[in-house]
Symmetry: D2
Subunit: 141 residues, 4 copies
């Protein structure tokens, strides 16, 4: 499958449309197989006890799958998250970036579904697992 947006296209899209997000997340990789997104972990993402917060990991998974979808359909579409499910498996390391490895399982006419594994960078066991569904609005005519 050909990509509609490259790594650089996606980075520019983030900068323009979600500047707040672009400051903390970086696309490490995009291919026909999926997308890898990194959260630059800082104090703002930590919870007492030194864990990366649940909402921070949720947000990472959501942006990773959203960008994975856009890499297939292009930047014009205003896809909306309709469902998300996440399992928190292990405590993430507080001194490492968090990495989401996302893949698209279905790209339909009105729905797209994908999942992601989330890791503390450089460690072998996933800290979380997420799946998300997006509603794709009809193209304007």
């Amino acid at each position: 499958m050909e990509l509609a947006m490259s790594k650089d296209d996606l980075g520019r899209f983030l900068q323009t449309e979600f500047p707040q997000v672009a400051q903390e997340m970086v696309v490490d990789e995009v291919s026909a197989q999926g997308l890898v997104l990194r959260l630059r972990v800082s104090a703002a993402h930590l919870r007492p006890g030194g864990t990366v917060s649940g909402p921070a990991m949720f947000g990472l998974a959501d942006v990773a799958l959203y960008l994975c979808l856009l890499s297939r359909i292009g930047p014009q579409a205003l896809a909306v998250t309709t469902n998300a499910s996440i399992d928190f498996l292990r405590k993430p390391a507080q001194d490492r970036d968090v990495i989401a490895s996302a893949r698209l399982l279905k790209l339909g006419r009105v729905l797209a579904v994908g999942d992601a594994l989330i890791y503390s960078q450089g460690l072998p066991d996933p800290v979380a697992r997420a799946n998300m569904t997006y509603s794709i609005p009809p193209a304007p005519r």
Copy 2:
């Protein structure tokens, strides 16, 4: 069922343990039936287009159910979110607070499960639905 923590107890707990969260979330109500938590929506919670962000709603549901659990078992426990599932139903209003109404469905020895409906304050239709599971660590002996 008697409550282990009152609305004021929970407010103080948030101030002490999660000062960052305490600035933006307020316990409106706690009873044997459940807990109502309000997110004071500000610019930091909004996404382009004027919607309250998904991670902000996820975080609200998570804190609401966590506090609902603590209101039953008291502040000593270090409960951890293990699973969360959320449906985004409607676009929240950007100029209204967001309210989570949470209830506990199971309080077991090692797991607690609950769900929540999320509303834009004063509007009748829910903007999101969430369910969460918490792992309760064994009491120290």
Copy 3:
């Protein structure tokens, strides 16, 4: 909200379209608030240890929400389950029917979302909690 199908309409619909299901499930109640569906528990639904099986409870929740949706939009639509999430909370009694109490949280143009609590008949605590999403195909023109 006016109902498009009554309890009797739904029962006849099950008989005609899903005769196998109609033998084991009965609509107890339908109203603007939701729908109550009963599974007549028999040996076929039990697992070793005398529990009602997970797939049997999953099927009950699915049919309950599907009929709840049809009671609003009528029998013509071919809605398809796209997402389901279920928490098993307690062991159901093996000698009691199982009851799903379902409600619709969103009825959109392309998606409908609802949730259900499942009980062993006559017992106060839910044995399971489920939420489901349905994709509604566009009306033929």
Copy 4:
């Protein structure tokens, strides 16, 4: 990781403990990477329109992950499904077996979490995606 139960061990376990299930499901493969379970699709699993029913796919995913867990911890444990989430992605073929490819993402002291992709045999695109959590009872002392 060494396996506590081989493919043959798991087959015998199914025959003894879940004879009803053993008639319709077969372990195709088990390894350190995961487990592949096949549902021999028959008329009993079909819905009008010739689709494999949702509960049948739910049951397949549940048994696949349950056996994957047992292949690690052995047959003694009475693990219980506590949470399941499934996305139905495409209509399964009615004349092909359905295959679940399951993997364990976490094996903790009290919880195990895994996910599975489900395929119509021989077709490349998954028909469903599922994740499940199991509660592992404490070992008797």
